[in-house]
Amino acid sequence: MSAADLILAVLAIGCIPAASALASASWPRRSPVAAILLWQALGLGWGLAAVGTLIGFAVTSNGAVAGAGALERLASLVRAGHARPVAAIGLVRLICLAAGLLLLAVLCWILLAATASVLRARQRQRELLSLLAHDDPKVPGALVVDHPAAAAYCLPGLRPEIVISAGVLDLLDADELAAVLAHERAHLRERHDLVLLPFLALLRAFSWAGITTQAYRAVGLLLEMHADDRVLRQVPARGLATALLRVGSAGGGGVPTGALAVAGAPAECEVAARVIRLLRPPPVLNGAATALVLAVSAALVVLPAALLILPLH
């Protein structure tokens, strides 16, 4: 095993406790954007390092191009066209190679599958909305569905929509409705759904690993907080906070209890955390700390990518 493979292995394994620590850290809510970047870097860096470790170890003994990057060693191995690969690199290394390639394929596949399922759900929503929803002067630019339960959400995509239930219209005053619309518009404008998608893919594929749930929840909450921050440029914090509490406490109507029981407790903490953050904004991360977070994020992606491509002597 070369030094490069060792660094990749340490990165791949180290990303998991690092993600766990990030999920329970309190600084991310001070600068959601920096924290979201770090989450993305952790995810991408882990994928690169895990695939790189397996493939790098498998092709490490290919003496002819020792010292080259893992990808180059792999290419030269393939070019050499070994008729009997087991004899060429040994059974264990061959299994590692297969596992590395399989992991790469699985990671790409789960991303595609999650994208497809999300697009299907949105398409169904669009069809139903085209039949059921109507405009309302109280919420310009949003679609209204006549149902007494409180629901406010957005449908991201090329033709974005904001959907408000009649229950929400009854529940909120004009300021609060403006806050809801501004919040959803921030989600749509910045395509927060695309940020969340890879984490959804990991959650669906590796739901047995608790860390994927933690990561998905943490990134989702940070995106909400970031959208809240955007709202504060237009609407006072109070309107957004009361809107959150009113919609949050009324929203459960009509949901099967099974669905609520799954996510009930953490969701409560999420709304409360957002309200508390709105009322007592924590100090924004200072420049040096933000720079450190950005540097670590960049290193998490650049280092494994470089080790895969560049030779390490």
Partner: protein, 110 residues
């Protein structure tokens, strides 16, 4: 679609056109729309003599319920498909925070 929901019996294209007098739509336009609704599963059609008759596959309420259920579902997938404004918070906790907000607001004004 509203016409189909209102009607008790399956309607022919001509009957649907007849109820849409305010819109002044061509017969073929109505036929195309009904055909599309049938293809998407929102309407069922059956042959009655020479003409197709259409009826709504489900009641309006059933579709509203489906829409709201998927919007309020908190089990992961939907959450990513539709970004929700606020997930559920327990009534008592929200009330306590709202009360605190109320007193804060009065303090500011006073």
């Amino acid at each position: 679609m509203d016409v189909l929901w209102e009607a008790a019996d399956p309607l022919s294209v001509r009957e649907v056109s007849g109820q849409l007098t305010d819109r002044d739509l061509a017969h073929t336009t109505v036929m195309t729309v009904l055909d599309r609704l049938a293809k998407k599963g929102f309407a069922r059609r059956e042959r009655n003599g020479r003409a197709w008759h259409y009826r709504a596959a489900e009641s309006r309420e059933a579709y509203v319920t489906e829409l709201m259920l998927s919007a309020l579902d908190q089990t992961g997938d939907r959450q990513a498909a539709l970004a929700r404004f606020a997930r559920s918070v327990s009534g008592t906790e929200a009330q306590a925070l709202l009360r605190a907000l109320g007193t804060l607001g009065e303090a500011h004004r006073g």
